[in-house]
């Protein structure tokens, strides 16, 4: 499974755009890139998933360059409620339920 590297923490202010970049140099050809958000004492919540180029949903955008060795989660106009830990994950085992979590990025949104 591909190892991921992401910043330990980030600070931002309400209304700003936040970009969190994740490195995954040994991503495999069939690996998807998935981001989860986790609040304290809650389960991780699916944010967005992509394979290449750009994916956008109502919550975030995911930018993946052509070599797929990194990806960037973009959160537009963050609010205080976006303060959470964000995990970048790549790779699945045969039946697709094994995820290898790293330490995640602790995003702190300030007023």
């Amino acid at each position: 499974l591909a190892k991921t590297t992401q910043p330990i923490s980030m600070d931002s202010y309400e209304g700003q755009e936040v970009n969190i970049t994740c490195s995954h140099n040994n991503i495999a050809t069939n690996d998807y890139i998935t981001w989860y958000q986790q609040f304290p004492s809650q389960g991780p919540r699916f944010i967005i998933q992509g394979y290449k180029t750009k994916v956008t949903n109502e919550v975030a955008s995911l930018f993946i360059p052509a070599d797929r060795k990194s990806s960037t989660l973009s959160l537009p106009r963050v609010s205080l409620s976006d303060t959470a830990v964000y995990y970048c994950l790549v790779g699945f085992n045969n039946a697709g339920n094994m995820l290898t979590f790293g330490g995640g990025t602790r995003l702190m949104v300030k007023p």
Binding site: Q42, G43, F46, N97, M98
Partner: protein
Amino acid sequence: DAGVTQSPTHLIKTRGQQVTLRCSPISGHKSVSWYQQVLGQGPQFIFQYYEKEERGRGNFPDRFSARQFPNYSSELNVNALLLGDSALYLCASRQTGGSGNTIYFGEGSWLTVV
């Protein structure tokens, strides 16, 4: 539609006791996995079940066991509890066979071992 549901949400056990945690996957999801999350760390994979068969196991001792039922719900059992087993236990489900690999998590069961 209901998400992944887990029970109980919180429980306290004594060292040496046994615990059973329960999980109901999202309707239509046939694959269930379990994760342990110790405070301050990311979730660690314990087990994965698909069609009632174990398909993957993480680096956990034999005190940890699980099973999946015909309705695809699952139980995680931990025997001879240790203080270090105190953690948030997460269940996740996935609808295999279709496109995409989205995995959805429940809110977890908080286990405290005293």
